[in-house]
């Protein structure tokens, strides 16, 4: 299934890109599984994720967590803890 993954802030800089379109294999259905799959399939992303161990996630612009379910067409955003205000 196709999903878009977006990166923000320090994770975006470390990943060297702000968004990717990916075709997830069957069996990858949660945020945690998606992150593991990204790290397994892309060395640069693996390094960026490892360098950013504290992360938040949003699915379709709503905050989620690593157990959140990812569905076809979703926009999954990964980013460091927010620091506004």
């Amino acid at each position: 299934m196709m999903v878009q993954v977006r990166f923000f802030a320090a994770l975006r800089e470390r990943a060297g890109r702000d968004a990717i379109q990916i075709d997830l294999p069957e069996g990858v259905s949660t945020v945690a599984q998606l992150v593991d799959w990204l790290a397994e399939t892309d060395v640069a992303l693996a390094q960026a994720l490892e360098a950013t161990p504290r992360r938040m996630v949003a699915i379709n612009e709503v905050l989620g967590n690593e157990d959140s379910v990812v569905e076809a067409g979703d926009v999954v955003a990964l980013f460091p803890p927010v620091t506004g205000g």
Binding site: F8, A9, E61, A77, F79, P80, P81, V82, G85
Partner: protein, 157 residues
């Protein structure tokens, strides 16, 4: 109840929310918080703020809705800057109006505490010519969590 939620690149002026919240005597209290860029003893020259357009406005809207369900508010204004901001300038404004001060004080603190831990903004500091990402603080998480833990046991005022 009226709400104003805004993300902008330009400067913030304290008179804007003050004028916008005036309601010809309906409210007895206006509480406004202004967050300003600290220079940390001259170390920090400027901040740069990035956000997630669309999600930011939606999260801020949800936080304001939560505040409205807990306190009787007449108006709520949230404005946050993005882009480059110099030390001493305002970075965020949260202002609320209510019939009585207690609701206004508490709702303003609630909105600010949740904004710090939920709204997708990230800041870098300019120190000695280098931009450095600011790390999130655990104390901010605790401040937000303290509002949510007592959510069931309290009647809105």
């Amino acid at each position: 109840m009226k709400t104003h939620i805004e993300v902008r690149e330009g400067g913030l002026s304290a008179s804007e929310p003050d004028l916008w919240l005036r309601d010809q005597g309906r409210s007895g209290a206006v509480v406004m918080f202004s967050g300003q860029v600290r220079d940390e003893q001259g170390k920090v020259e400027a901040l740069h703020l990035e956000h997630y357009p669309g999600m930011t406005e939606s999260v801020l809207g949800t936080i304001v809705e939560q505040a409205c369900s807990r306190w009787h508010l007449n108006g709520a204004w949230v404005a946050h800057r993005v882009g480059t901001i110099q030390a001493g300038e305002d970075i965020v404004q949260v202002a609320v109006s209510s019939a009585h001060r207690q609701a206004a004080f508490e709702a303003c603190a609630f909105i600010m505490d949740l904004l710090k831990t939920r709204a997708p903004f990230w800041k870098k500091e300019l120190i000695d010519g280098c931009w450095i990402w600011v790390e999130a603080r655990e104390s901010d998480d605790q401040a937000a969590a303290s509002w949510l833990q007592d959510a069931t046991g309290r009647a809105p005022r």
